[in-house]
Symmetry: C2
Subunit: 382 residues, 2 copies
């Protein structure tokens, strides 16, 4: 059995003033007040826009954060892996929705088992007739039909059927024993980081037009779609305008990584959300004249996006570069005092979702103090 | 406490014929026979070359694999994080060596605690006088002095002091209470993937010349260096030629990822090691004409190197591309039958070390059968 990460080397720092700067590194650091402000800001936005929130767990994989989102009014959570959904259901989170179609025999059996455990609303998506048939077989002995959304490809070409194929699939769900047609999902992952806000808006509204057409056709077929689920942090304020989505699957707004800070910086004075997540890393090498060596590399930060951005504790103008699995290079502007050997600095995470997935614990801070340790419950869960 | 990954959804498949093709995906798959052949081939090479092996745990993070390496003759294991070293010592692995200098107060305290637990040989490196002083303070109450190697920068510029600074540091170690000078480490990480074998060889021999000069100077200072540790899979057959290293820190040879398969393909007919590690992924989307969608993305494969290469179960000539956190694109050559929805294929891992770090379990196979589940014990351990 893998060593359960039941102890963090940092547990001894809990409650000690100044503990944040003394964290054993590398460590994922979460500013609780900033997190709560982000959750409140998105909740207020959704209320004002008349749209529900089913925030995406793939970003944080944390029961504690899901609970805060639900406490602020979210109707449930979205999960991309079945392992995430299992953990959220077991923790009593309501309205757990699986955003990727379960396809293999093992996954279908796991969905059936989950549907038979006590839950407060569980839904999945399908994008192929074979999956509808297989899911129906897997669920034939389940007392309550499972809520199923038809996943429509919003143009990203990942999961989802075509808009044209959706009505037939919806009818197949309606007539499949064990299943209940609950609506439509259309996640425009490819639009979330479009850098020009006007272009993001136009393409989002065009997608909404197509979905409205689909909904009209479903109505003509005698099918109502109570749920239309989609949207992300990049289009959080554009999707409600289209008045087609009943709920938003926003995820990254809780943390605001380098990617989203850049994407949302266009078109308004300041993003409505703030950075809440950092990785603390120590200076472990000072023998090079051109840079310092830190102890967080590509096993501590996602490498698919931009670079981590040095923040707290790093001299202004510092720059980070990857330097292998366990190290980074920190370039400090000339003429500035360099952080000392052993000094801890914090970096804004490049792409938050896969960065979080590399860590076992959130080191939850209030100012300078480590106040809580939250596990990354669904880390690595498929 | 994070959910301990004490159960794999695949445990039910153990021993069942054909279980390999029915694995819940994504899953890390390890071919046990190929692993053992790689371990035996490196052990035979080292014996013939008259050099010891202290294979690097950063690659596999597995007690089970470390035990197989020691059983084949390795004198110990190398660890880049203290968390890896703690797990190996607790598991009773002998000769655990920490290849990165411990610097922060927390890390020094953890080293001291580890040095006080029962171990069969523990060593660390230092590359700065301040660390020698701090380590000596941390270890002042330890009954047996800790073996310390001076880490010399082999030209990569990551950790290590200059060759010129090494003698003074070695003398500092010798006179520091609680420490014992045990030798030199010089890891040429930057040479491991140099694509032209002749260039790799020439630069490796040049490094060896510099190290020989350093060793002569140490001898003149009355310091003997019983250990000279370094080398990797890319230079495994070049380093012994230089007759300066007493031991090799080879890591990736156990698995052979896409990176090393390419690096070692130059200069001989076939690499002396074979691919033993794969990631199994299922086809979960067949709605796109141009490609299939699989369920392994950048939370299942490292993204810092080349792309995963489709192998077992994929039509010859197939090509993989990343498609977000949890998905991939599989391009199949025209005119070839496409794998069906739900089919499981396997990909060679791009960069094995950070790929392994994304998984909880090795699914150990013998041919088509899942025969064991080995935990990735030190996954995420810092």
């Amino acid at each position: 059995m893998p060593e359960p990460s039941s102890t963090s080397p940092n547990a001894a720092l809990l409650g000690r003033p100044g503990g944040r700067a003394g964290l054993d590194t590398p460590a994922l650091v979460l500013d609780r007040a900033a997190l709560d402000r982000n959750i409140a800001a998105m909740a207020a936005h959704a209320r004002a826009a008349g749209v529900a929130l089913r925030p995406h767990v793939k970003t944080h994989k944390s029961v504690a954060i899901a609970r805060r989102q639900v406490a602020a009014g979210a109707i449930g959570v979205s999960c991309v892996t079945l392992g995430e959904a299992e953990i959220m259901v077991r923790a009593g989170i309501p309205g757990v929705h699986l955003t990727s179609p379960p396809v293999t025999a093992v996954k279908l059996a796991r969905v059936a088992a989950l549907a038979r455990t006590p839950h407060h609303g569980l839904s999945v998506v399908v994008d192929h007739a074979d999956t509808v048939a297989a899911l129906s077989v897997a669920l034939r002995d389940t007392p309550t039909p499972l809520a199923v959304l038809v996943d429509v490809d919003a143009g990203q070409g990942r999961t989802g059927c075509t808009v044209e194929a959706a009505p037939a699939l919806a009818r197949a769900v309606r007539s499949a024993p064990g299943l209940r047609f609950a609506g439509i999902q259309a996640y425009a992952g490819h639009l979330q980081h479009v850098p020009i806000r006007a272009e993001r808006r136009e393409r989002s509204l065009r997608l909404a037009d197509r979905l409205r057409g689909l909904l009209r056709q479903l109505t003509a077929d005698g099918l109502t779609a109570p749920i239309v689920s989609g949207g992300g942090t990049g289009t959080f304020d554009l999707d409600p305008e289209a008045r087609v989505f009943t709920e938003l699957q926003v995820g990254s707004y809780v943390f605001m990584d380098v990617e989203y800070l850049r994407a949302l910086a266009d078109g308004r004075n300041a993003p409505p959300f703030e950075t809440a997540l950092f990785v603390a890393t120590a200076v472990v090498g000072v023998n090079q004249p051109a840079y310092l060596v830190t102890d967080a590399g590509l096993k501590s930060f996602a490498t698919d996006g931009p670079k981590p951005e040095p923040a707290r504790g790093a001299p202004p103008g510092s720059r980070y570069e990857f330097f292998g699995d366990e190290h980074g290079k920190l370039f400090v502007p000339a003429g500035v005092t360099r952080p000392a050997l052993g000094a801890v600095i914090e970096c804004v995470t490049p792409h938050c979702d896969p960065t979080v997935n590399l860590h076992d614990w959130y080191h939850v801070v209030d100012g300078d103090t480590l106040v809580e340790l939250w596990p990354v419950d669904a880390r690595g869960k498929r």
